[in-house]
Symmetry: C2
Subunit: 663 residues, 2 copies
C-alpha cells in the first residue's frame, strides 16, 4: 500500500476503483482546482479502465460540474451537491474547491455512489476554517528536536535548514488533507525561534513555495509569527502594538507577504505565553496586540489566529489560590467585543493543556462578540505520543457536541465560528504519523471540522474503508471488526491506565511520556493533584475552592461545582475527595483507581492480541510497525498501572478489594 | 586578585611575599622541576625585592637543595625535609618534585617559615597517587554538555573539538594542583564517546601537548579509554580481553602512547557500567579485563584505574530484593588476588553515587590482595552543583578516617594504596570552579590526598590564608572568622535541607539539581526510599532486608544492621522505620525531617548574612559572584525544605510539633 517512499494512508489507489471504472464528464471550465479534479479522475481511469472527458459526452456515469446557475447557488465556495438520476451521478459545485470535495465524497461512497437513485443532497462545511497547525521548526531545536511535540520524524516542510527542494510530498500531504476536508495549514511552530522569525520577511519565498504545493488542493498557508517581529526583524526599538511605526512595519511586512502569496491565510500568534513576547510588555491588552496584526491583514482578507493559552508558568505550588485553569477565561472575557472581525481567538478545547480528560474550556461561548476557533491536539503529546493507540475521535466529538449553556443551547461546534484547529501529528515518517493507526486521528479531525456533529464511529468506518479497502480483503468482516476493536475504545483505554478521574498531568516532566505521579506536583506549571494520605483532587468549586467552576454558564457551574452532581470522569478535576468517596459508578475513588488501571492494561493486552490476528489481512510493513508499537504500549501501560497503583496504595494504605498485586 | 583572565585562587602573588622577600639559594642541579622551582622563586623575588641564586652565596635565608646524600635519603621521590637553624630555612629533597612540594610548603607557612629555630621535619605524601579525573568531553555532548556533571564552564583542556592551542591556563592549573599536592590528572570523561576514543591513537599528540603543560608541576597525565577500543579504533572483530589479537592491539597502542608521552600515567576505564562496553560481553571477568590493559602498561610503569561502579541500571523498582548498594562488593570481592599489581580498582567512597551522606563502601578493606583507590567527587553533582556552598572536607575526612574493621584497624586512608581520586570541579570559568568558594574543595582534596589524617579545619584555614591573605586585610579576624563561618558547617547545612537521614536521591531526574522526592522512586536506577503513609527508608539489614549490612566487616555489620545501633545520620539508608521512630537524638524521624529542613534554611540565611558582611574585605568580583550564588542557594534551600516537608506531611499526616508553616 505504499506509493513511492511513503504510505498511501487513506488514499490508496484501490480507493478510487469505483470512480476509475466510470465514464466521467467534467464540465467545469478551467482553473487549478478543476485541473486537480481532472488529474485525480484521469489517474483513476488510467488505473481502472474508465475515461474522463471535459465537456460533451452524453452517456456519462459521473458528471462533475461547476455552475454559477441555480443548481450551484447557496452551496458557497466549498459546498457541493450530489444526486443520482437515470444512471448518472452528478456532483455540482459553484467552483473548483467544492468540486474537489465532491469528488472525494464520491470516492468515499465508492460503488454506493453508482447504485439506484439518489435525491439531491447538499453538503457544506460547518466551519469555514479547518486548520492544521504544524509545530515544525526550520532549525532543529537542541531540546525539542525539529518538530516540537512531534512523534513522526522530521518536518514535512523543512529540511537542512530550509524549505525542502522537492515538495512532492507536501503536495501529497495536501491531497490527503483535502480528502478529509482540511483547508488551512500553518507551516511553523507557534514558538517562533530566531531562524523561523525570518520566514515572515526575507525567507517568505520558501513559504510561497510551500503554498504553491498546497494550493492545488484548496489549502491556504498560514504562518506563525513572533509578536516581537518589528524589533527582531525590523530593528524598531519597540513592538508596542499602538506605536505608529510598529503598525506601519506590520502593514509593510504583510503587504510583501501578499505579494509573494496572494491567497495567504494569515498569522498565528502565541503571545505572552510560556515566555513568548506579547503586548503585556507595553501595558497593552491582547485585543490591542491582535488588532494591530489584524489591521495589517485586513486589506487582503487575512486572519490573525491569536492563541488564548496565556497563563502564569512561574506559579508557586505552595499557592493554592491561583488556578491555571482559570487563566484563559480571566484574561480574555473582559475583552469581548474589542477584537477586530478578522482576529480569531484560538482556544484550547480544555482549560489546561490537552490532557486525556478535561472539561470543555469555559471560554468557549463566553465571548459572544468575538470569533473563536477551538484548538485540539492531533499530535499525541499527552495521549501516548504515537507509541500508544489512542483514537481521539470520541474525545473531540464530545467537545464539539458539548453545549456550554446547557439545555438546547448551541454546541461548541457551532460556537467555533473561527474554525477548528488541530496541532498536526504528521511528519516525514513513512507512515506520516509514526504509528500507522494515528492516521485515523488526522482523518477524523478533518471530517469533524467539516461536520462537527458527525458520528465519530461512522468517520472511523470511512477511514477504515478508504485505508484498508476491506472489500478487497480475504476477510472483510474480520478486518473491519478488528480495526474497530482496537480503535473504537482506545481513548477510553488510555484514560484507564493513566491519570485518573480528570486530574491529569501525572507524566514525566519535560518529554511528557510515561508516568510520574508527582512529576508536576511541586512544579511552577500550575499542574497539581494534591494527593495526600486522605484524598486527592483539586478543589475548583466556588464554595470552597478556586472558583473555576463558577466560570461556567448555564447549569454547568452547578453541575461541576458540587461533588454530588459532578460527572465521575471529571471528579478530581473539580474536587478534592477522600479515597473512600463513592462515585456514581458505585465504586470508591481508590478502588476505581485500582480497577481501571488493571482494566486498561487488560484492554491493551486484548488489543494487541486482536492486532496480531490481523497479520494476514494487513500490509506487512504496516502490520509490523503497529505490532512493534503494541509491545511498547503494553510495557508502558503496565508501568502506568503499577506506578499509579503503588503510589496510591502507599499513600492511602487502602488495599485492593480484589487482592491483586500492587507493588 | 585576578591574574590575566582568571582568578589566582590559592596562589595570589601576595601568598609569595615571605619567600619573595628573602635571599634564596637554590642548590639543586638542573631539570624541569628544578627550573619550575627557580621560576617560582625568581618571580616572587621580582615582585617583593628578594633574590635567588643557583649555587654559591653564604648568607641565604632560604636554601632549597636536592641531595642524593643522607639528608635526602628516605624522603622518596616526592618527600622533603624542612629545618631552620641559625637564620637559614632549608628545604631538602631527593629530587625536583620533592623540592617543589617543599617550596609550596614554605609558601603556606609564610613568615612563620622564617622565624626562630625549627628542627628537621620530614614530609612525605601518604598516598602515591593523588589524582583528579576530569569528566571532560572533547566534542560537546548534546545533553551532558562539554563537561559531564561540570558546573564551571567548559573544559580547561579541550575547546572547539581539539586540545586548546594555548595551554597557558592548563599550566596554571597544574601549578595550583601542585601547590595542594595533586600529581595525576585524567584529561577526559570516563564515558568515552566516539570522538574521545581517538585520543588513544591518532589524537595522542593532543594529549601529549597537555602532558607537556602539566609535567613542569610534577603531574602525570592519564587517559580514559573505552574497553571497546580494539574494535572501535583497531577494527578487530572482538574486544575479548583474552583474545591474542586484542592483547596485541593494546600492547601496540600503549607502546605508541609511551612514544608520545614517556611518563604517561595510565588508563582509566569504566567498563560494564551504565551502558559502557566491558568484559562481561565475552564471559570474562573484570580481572581479565583490567589485566589485559595492565599487561600492556606494565613495561612502562603505567597503571590501569579500573572503576568498580558496576551495577544494574535497568533495575525494576518493583523488585525489592535487588539492592544496588550491594553491587560493587558482590561483583569484585570474589576477584580479590586476581588483579595484576599495576591494576588499581577505583572504588567510589560510598556504595551508591556521591550522595550527601552514605556509609563507606564495604568494598574498601574487603580486598586485601588488591590495590584500591578511593574516588570522591569534588564536582558537586549531588551537593549543590557549585551554586550552593558545600565544603566537602569534613565528609572526605570522615571517609578517610573510617576504620572498616573497627577497633584500631587500618583507616580508609591507609587502605587506599592505589591512591585517592576526585572527580574534578574545575573548568574554564574565571573562578575555576564556578562558585569561588568551591575552590576550597579542590584544595582540600589535594591536601587530604597528601595526608588523609590531616585535620580538615586546619586545611581550610590554610586555604583561607593563601587565598585571601587575611594578614593584608583591614580586618583579618572578621575575614577569617567569616570564611570559617560560611564554610565549616556548609556540608552539614546542605545535608539538613536535602534528603534526610542518609536516604539520598530525592533530586530531579537527569540534571540532579533541586528536589524531587519521588524523582527516582519508580526508576530503573536502583535509588529508592520506599516512603509510604507509615514510614520511610530502605531495609538493608541481614535479618529482614537486602543483606547489604552483612557486607561490612568487624563491628559494622552489627552496628548498621540493627535499628537500635545504627547511627541516626544513616538510619534510612539501612532501615525502613515508622515516622514515629525515636532517633538517638530524642526526636522522632518525622520531627527530625521537619526540624532539620527549617534549620538548614536558617543556616543558609545566616551564611548569606555573614557573607554580605564581608563585602569590604573581599575582592569585589569574587564577593559579587558568591553573593549572587547565595541568592540561588537560599531559593533552592527553601524549595527543598518546602517540598520535602510537604511530601512527608501529606504522606504521614503528622503535623509539625512546633506548628511552623508546611504547605
Amino acid at each position: 500500500m505504499r506509493t513511492g517512499d511513503f504510505d498511501a494512508a487513506w488514499l490508496p489507489p484501490a480507493a478510487f476503483r469505483a470512480v476509475g471504472r466510470r465514464r466521467t464528464l467534467l464540465r467545469a471550465g478551467d482553473g487549478p482546482l478543476v485541473d486537480t479534479v481532472h488529474g485525480e479522475v484521469a489517474d483513476a481511469c488510467g488505473r481502472f479502465g474508465g475515461r474522463v472527458v471535459r465537456d460533451g459526452g452524453e452517456d456519462a456515469e459521473l458528471v462533475l460540474e461547476v455552475t454559477g446557475g441555480p443548481a450551484g447557488a447557496g452551496l458557497g465556495d466549498e459546498g457541493f451537491a450530489l444526486a443520482r438520476r437515470g444512471g448518472t451521478t452528478t456532483v455540482t459545485a459553484s467552483g473548483g474547491r467544492g468540486l474537489l470535495y465532491g469528488l472525494f465524497h464520491v470516492v468515499r461512497l465508492g460503488e454506493d455512489a453508482f447504485r439506484g437513485e439518489r435525491p439531491r443532497e447538499e453538503h457544506r462545511p460547518a466551519l469555514a476554517v479547518r486548520m492544521l497547525d504544524h509545530w515544525d521548526n526550520v532549525a532543529v531545536h537542541p531540546v525539542m528536536g525539529q518538530v516540537e511535540r512531534g512523534y513522526a520524524g522530521g518536518s514535512l516542510f523543512w529540511a537542512d535548514g530550509r524549505a525542502r527542494g522537492d515538495l512532492g510530498r507536501v503536495r501529497a500531504y495536501g491531497r490527503l488533507l483535502a480528502a478529509c476536508g482540511v483547508n488551512a495549514v500553518a507551516v511553523n511552530n507557534v514558538n517562533v525561534h530566531e531562524t523561523e522569525a525570518h520566514l515572515l520577511t526575507d525567507r517568505i519565498g520558501e513559504v510561497a513555495a510551500i503554498a504553491d504545493a498546497l494550493r492545488p488542493y484548496g489549502i491556504r498557508t498560514h504562518l506563525s509569527v513572533t509578536f516581537a517581529a518589528p524589533m527582531v526583524l525590523g530593528s524598531l526599538p519597540t513592538a508596542d502594538p499602538l506605536d505608529a511605526a510598529v503598525r506601519a512595519w506590520w502593514r509593510g511586512a504583510t503587504a510583501r507577504v501578499y505579494e509573494a502569496i496572494g491567497d495567504f491565510g494569515g498569522y498565528v500568534v502565541k503571545a505572552d505565553s510560556e515566555g513568548r513576547p506579547g503586548p503585556f510588555a507595553y501595558g497593552r491588552s491582547h485585543a490591542d496586540g491582535a488588532n494591530a496584526l489584524a489591521a495589517a491583514l485586513e486589506p487582503y482578507g487575512g486572519t490573525v489566529h491569536w492563541r488564548t493559552f496565556v497563563y502564569d508558568h512561574h506559579q508557586d505550588w505552595r499557592d493554592r489560590s491561583t488556578d491555571r485553569a482559570r487563566a484563559a477565561y480571566d484574561h480574555f472575557t473582559p475583552l469581548d467585543g474589542e477584537f477586530a472581525p478578522n482576529a480569531v481567538l484560538q482556544v484550547k478545547h480544555g482549560p489546561m493543556d490537552f490532557q486525556v480528560r478535561e472539561p470543555v474550556s469555559p471560554l468557549i461561548g463566553a465571548m459572544p462578540r468575538t470569533r473563536l476557533a477551538v484548538e485540539v491536539q492531533a499530535t499525541q503529546e499527552y495521549t501516548g505520543q504515537q507509541r500508544h493507540v489512542c483514537w481521539l475521535g470520541p474525545m473531540w466529538s464530545e467537545v464539539l457536541r458539548f453545549r456550554p449553556e446547557g439545555g438546547s443551547g448551541p454546541r461548541v461546534g457551532e460556537l467555533a465560528r473561527g474554525g477548528l484547529v488541530a496541532v498536526s501529528n504528521a511528519g516525514d515518517d513513512p507512515f506520516w504519523t509514526g504509528h500507522p493507526l494515528a492516521q485515523a486521528n488526522l482523518y477524523t479531525f478533518g471530517r469533524l471540522a467539516w461536520d462537527p456533529r458527525a458520528d465519530p464511529g461512522a468517520v472511523l468506518d470511512e477511514w477504515i474503508r478508504l485505508t484498508f479497502t476491506p472489500e478487497r480483503s480475504a476477510d472483510p468482516v474480520r478486518l473491519t471488526d478488528g480495526l474497530h476493536a482496537v480503535l473504537d475504545g482506545s481513548w477510553a483505554t488510555y484514560e484507564k491506565y493513566t491519570a485518573p478521574l480528570g486530574v491529569g498531568f501525572m507524566v514525566q516532566p519535560g518529554h511528557h511520556y510515561g508516568p510520574s505521579v508527582d512529576g508536576y506536583e511541586y512544579s511552577p506549571w500550575g499542574t497539581y493533584h494534591f494527593a495526600d494520605r486522605d484524598g486527592v483532587g483539586v478543589d475548583r468549586s466556588t464554595a470552597t475552592g478556586t472558583g473555576y467552576a463558577g466560570q461556567y454558564a448555564g447549569p454547568w457551574a452547578e453541575v461541576y461545582g458540587s461533588v454530588e452532581t459532578c460527572p465521575d470522569e471529571l471528579l478530581l478535576f473539580f474536587h478534592h475527595v477522600p479515597y473512600g468517596h463513592v462515585l456514581h459508578s458505585g465504586r470508591t475513588v481508590i478502588q476505581h483507581i485500582y480497577d481501571t488501571r488493571f482494566e486498561g492494561v487488560a484492554e491493551v493486552e486484548e488489543a494487541r492480541r486482536v492486532w496480531a490476528g490481523l497479520a494476514d489481512l494487513v500490509d506487512p510493513a504496516r502490520h509490523a510497525r503497529v505490532a512493534e508499537r503494541y509491545e511498547e504500549q503494553l510495557r508502558s501501560a503496565r508501568e502506568w498501572r503499577d506506578q499509579v497503583n503503588s503510589y496510591f496504595l502507599r499513600k492511602s494504605g487502602v488495599p485492593d478489594a480484589r487482592g491483586r498485586t500492587i507493588h
